[in-house]
């Protein structure tokens, strides 16, 4: 049969973000494929070098639209490392709450996204309803639902609003009570299992070859390598939580790890709410008004554990008002760009969108 070219995305229910996978198929087997990111958001590193330190906070959330907070956190941490800033204790806990809510929201979105390629839209409706509640909480805290622009170098922009803890607890209790229900609808559902078990494998060797981190790695190598544990930032070293692992890296194992992480995130947020002290939430980067903030000469690499793996910012400052050089390590770069080219071929056409969804591919962080 003659080879045919097909596109997955950018307009496709199984595509995450404004990216497109170009596939050459023979029958329904993919023969060759490559990813074309950069359909919408790209060129961040150079963009950041042209922005003031303070103005960058409006740009960086766009590096990953659904989980902007990890970007903000990595950027803030890198600046704090160069400037040797002491972040107020309360800000650390607020940051953890925000980051874990972000993890919850993206895991729910990704789990709901499973409904797109498998045709079970009920899952997506449920997941998005819960994500909506999280966005409501974000809106109350940060002022925006998606681009929070909340975690900034030196702390967070504002203290938590009064009474937000009640909203958080009620959502977490509600989500926890429906956790089993979620599993039953999704990965315990035989029709979905038929699509995700023993397929779309990401074996150990591929993980090492490509440099995959996060759930992709943990579900393959059976080791709890999580930056929150091995290189704790904020106050993760003072919080108890488990890192779910697996040794059989099919799509099912990855989704399973994600769902288990949901429970862990719920627990982390609850602990943060108990342990969070009172006090200031922000220190300025340097003296003066924000447009003349400078960061001393130096460089730093700061990384955080995003839902898709290690997300890092390498930043260089020449002591001026702008970053001199920024390098972003997008968490989904290895599996998203290299993986699609090398390991997507050989799978079936209808597995392509499941690949994209369960690997966690976010296009702006690839073409940054």
């Amino acid at each position: 049969m003659k080879e045919m070219k097909l596109f997955l995305g950018p307009q496709h229910p199984g595509m995450s973000g404004n990216a497109s996978v170009h596939m050459y198929v023979d029958g329904d087997i993919i023969k060759r494929s490559y990813l074309l990111p950069g359909m919408l958001h790209r060129g961040f590193e150079k963009g950041m070098e042209r922005h003031l330190w303070v103005n960058n906070i409006s740009l960086i959330p766009r590096v990953c639209v659904v989980e902007p907070d990890t970007n903000e956190m990595a950027f803030a941490m890198a600046v704090e490392m160069i400037a040797k800033l002491e972040v107020p204790e309360r800000a650390h806990y607020i940051r953890m709450i925000i980051l874990e809510f972000a993890r919850l929201s993206i895991h729910l979105m990704s789990y709901g996204g499973l409904g797109g390629p498998t045709g079970l839209y009920t899952l997506m409706y449920h997941a998005h309803t819960d994500r909506n509640t999280i966005l409501n909480i974000f809106e109350k805290i940060t002022g925006h639902r998606v681009y929070h622009q909340y975690i900034v170098p030196g702390g967070v922009r504002k203290d938590l609003p009064v009474g937000i803890e009640k909203d958080m607890h009620s959502f977490l209790d509600d989500l926890e009570s429906r956790y089993e229900e979620y599993r039953d609808l999704g990965i315990n559902n035989l029709s979905i299992q038929a699509r995700i078990r023993d397929t779309i494998m990401l074996p150990k060797e591929v993980v090492w070859e490509l440099g995959v981190t996060g759930i992709g790695m943990r579900s393959a190598v059976n080791k709890p390598y999580d930056l929150r544990k091995v290189k704790p930032y904020a106050r993760y070293d003072q919080i108890e939580f488990d890192v779910p692992v697996s040794d059989y890296s099919d799509a099912y194992a990855r989704v399973d790890c994600k769902l288990q992480e949901v429970l862990q995130s719920i627990s982390i947020i609850r602990q943060c709410l108990i342990k969070m002290p009172k006090g200031d939430v922000r220190v300025p980067i340097s003296k003066g008004q924000a447009m003349r903030w400078t960061v001393p000469k130096g460089y730093a690499y700061a990384c955080v554990e995003s839902s898709r793996g290690e997300f890092g910012y390498f930043m260089v400052s020449d002591g001026g008002t702008h970053p001199y050089r920024v390098g972003v390590r997008g968490a989904s770069y290895p599996q998203g760009l290299l993986g699609v080219e090398k390991y997507l071929p050989g799978t079936r056409l209808d597995d392509a969108s499941l690949w994209i969804d369960t690997m966690g591919v976010c296009s702006p962080e690839i073409d940054r």
Binding site: H51, L52, N55, S58, E139, H144, R157, K158, D159, G288
Partner: protein, 599 residues
């Protein structure tokens, strides 16, 4: 992993069929309020069917559409500067009242570009720009998305969303600490009080400036203040100096003693402490090496004009005129009656505020560009006005106000009632060693009348002389104005009080008490008001509220008047005077005597 699931496992979700949906209904987003501006809009075709109920209110921190209270907004344009998407443009609005410390412009926001990051709100110098909870706006005309925020959003009062607070504030409201000599140390000497900024501190202070330029309008010589502050921030002393000399030939002096109106107009002062503009100016002058000075000063001097100008008086006005005339290519001679040039700078302001070294630096450079200083020559005595008229193409009069105003109360003509401009030159002469301490007659207790900077100069100089002479000080200061209305600068009041000057503000002098031909004190009545309804000076007193303060000498610092004795009568007849000043037209040219200019 190997657990087997039934095909019915996921059927439990059917129970949700009987639950209320969690989605946000359309009707809850489009509220009655929103509908008003959706009217006449074809985008929402089903508007008539929309029920207005259950409006969805955004969170308290919502970064929605902006509101801007025009009464509070000062038009500084800082929002425009910080906007990362360049969505904000300042638009000139001449219908706004032209007030000191405000610009006649207000921000417009292009909502096609705005990313609602709220940085503009967080850096607003007056806290007038806020964000509301409104997040819905629709219009068929693309141009209608460029809006000028006002206190009301679309004509409605709306709830506040994101507002600036302590944590989100992006301004630095606290001034960088300036090292001062301690009151005990400075009280018994004439060393300069303000030590000046170091490079590091100057840069930190310069980093606070938002470059709005409101200060420029309030400066008498319209200095390019934001430009030279930026030069300090960028460590470009040469650029800063160049900016300064464009408008001010006496920066070393002005960096220490100018009235710093700029600092009262400073945008940062709306919510915090003004930028220390005067001290930053001084930093540039103090840290610029001499060869840099020469290079900058010599550059603009041209040699094209073949004309001579005589300048009478070497005070700030005379030297300023001399500098710019010389830069334009004129040959300039400055006539000064005293042995040293500088006028009020040299003989009025005490050395702890303005040391000789600073004056010398400025004047030396003016001399260097070719201005000739002729000292010890009083016009009218050593050289006549007629000769000046004959020898020069033009004459500029820059003689100061050295004649004291009289008190006009009983006992006011006693020899121990002394004018400020009699006393202060003596003090300066003492500092430079011309006079000895014994030569200056300073009593053990002194009363100073006046509430301006000169009164404090007198009081604080007297304190120092008393400390040197007697080891202790006793100076009282009385003024018509209350303490919060004193015309003196805040620094003087603060530092003067620190040095132990007793204040008797809000009182008017009625009689100098004299016993055995010696001054013993001053009788005061409480002052009820200083000006009458028409605004002219006419103080009213409460006679019941009387007090007598003791003092062996009374110093008067209630203003000075000019001395025009040097002008021959024939010329005086041609001149017109208004409140002690010679009336002049544009550029200071005097009518009917085109060769004569006044400062």
């Amino acid at each position: 992993m190997n657990k087997q699931y039934s095909i019915f496992t996921s059927w439990r979700h059917f129970k949700h069929l009987f639950k209320k949906p969690k989605t946000i209904p359309f009707t809850s987003i489009f509220t009655k309020k929103n509908m008003n501006y959706l009217n006449n809009n074809s985008i929402i075709r089903s508007k008539k069917k929309v029920e207005m109920s259950n409006p969805r209110t955004a969170g308290d921190n919502q970064r929605g559409f902006h509101t801007n209270d025009w009464e509070v907004c000062i038009g500084c344009g800082t929002c425009e500067e910080i906007c990362p998407t360049e969505a904000i443009t300042m638009v000139e609005r001449l219908d706004i009242k032209d007030e000191e410390g405000k610009l006649q412009q207000r921000p417009t926001i292009d909502y096609g570009r705005c990313c609602f990051c709220a940085l503009c709100v967080d850096i607003c110098t007056s806290d007038s720009l806020k964000m509301s909870k409104e997040y819905i706006y629709s219009h068929e005309d693309p141009n209608a998305f460029e809006l000028m925020p006002e206190a009301l959003w679309q004509g409605h009062a709306v709830e506040e969303g994101w507002v600036k607070d302590k944590a989100s504030n992006l301004l630095d409201l606290e001034r960088v600490h300036m090292e001062h000599e301690s009151p005990d140390e400075r009280k018994s000497s004439f060393i300069e009080i303000v030590r000046g900024y170091s490079k590091e501190y100057a840069k930190l202070e310069a980093a606070r400036c938002v470059e709005c330029g409101i200060c420029t309008g309030s400066c008498p010589v319209q200095m390019h203040i934001p430009a030279y502050i930026k030069a300090i921030f960028e460590d470009d002393i040469e650029g800063g100096l160049r900016q300064i000399y464009e408008t001010n030939p006496l920066p070393g002096v002005c960096g220490r003693v100018c009235t710093h109106n700029c600092e009262s107009a400073c945008a940062i002062a709306v919510k915090g402490e003004a930028i220390a503009i005067r001290w930053l100016k001084r930093y540039i002058i103090d840290s610029a090496p001499n060869d840099m000075y020469e290079k900058i000063l010599m550059e603009p001097v041209s040699e094209v004009v073949d004309a001579r100008v005589a300048v009478v008086g070497s005070g700030p006005a005379g030297l300023g005129a001399a500098y710019y005339l010389r830069v334009m290519g004129y040959e300039v001679d400055v006539y000064e009656e005293k042995p040293l040039t500088g006028g009020v700078m040299r003989y009025g302001i005490p050395a702890y505020r303005l040391p000789d070294s600073a004056i010398n630096k400025d004047i030396d450079f003016i001399e260097k560009i070719g201005v000739k200083m002729i000292v010890n020559t009083r016009v009218g005595k050593d050289i006549t006005m007629d000769k000046l008229e004959k020898d020069y193409d033009a004459v500029f009069l820059g003689t100061g106000f050295f004649k004291p105003r009289s008190l006009g109360i009983p006992g006011g003509d006693h020899k121990d009632v002394i004018g400020a401009m009699t006393f202060l030159p003596q003090v300066r002469d003492y500092e430079r060693g011309v006079l000895k301490l014994e030569d200056i007659d300073v009593a053990k207790s002194i009363v100073v009348i006046g509430g301006g900077d000169v009164a404090f100069d007198v009081a604080r100089s007297a304190t120092r002389l008393q400390m040197l002479k007697y080891g202790k000080s006793d100076v009282k200061l009385t003024s018509l104005e209350n303490e919060d209305q004193l015309p003196s600068s805040d620094d003087e009041l603060f530092e003067g009080s620190e040095e132990g000057i007793e204040l008797f503000c809000g009182n008017g002098p009625q009689e100098v008490m004299i016993k055995n031909n010696k001054v013993t004190g001053l009788r005061l009545w409480k002052c009820l008001c200083i000006f009458n309804e028409t605004g002219s000076f006419n103080p009213e007193y409460d006679k019941e509220c009387e007090q007598i303060i003791e003092g062996q000498q009374i110093y008067i610092a209630i203003g000075q008047s000019p001395d025009y004795e040097y002008i021959p009568e024939s010329l005086q007849g041609k001149l017109q005077f208004s409140r002690g000043k010679i009336k002049a037209g544009e550029f200071g040219q005097v009518e009917y005597t085109p060769w004569l200019f006044v400062g």
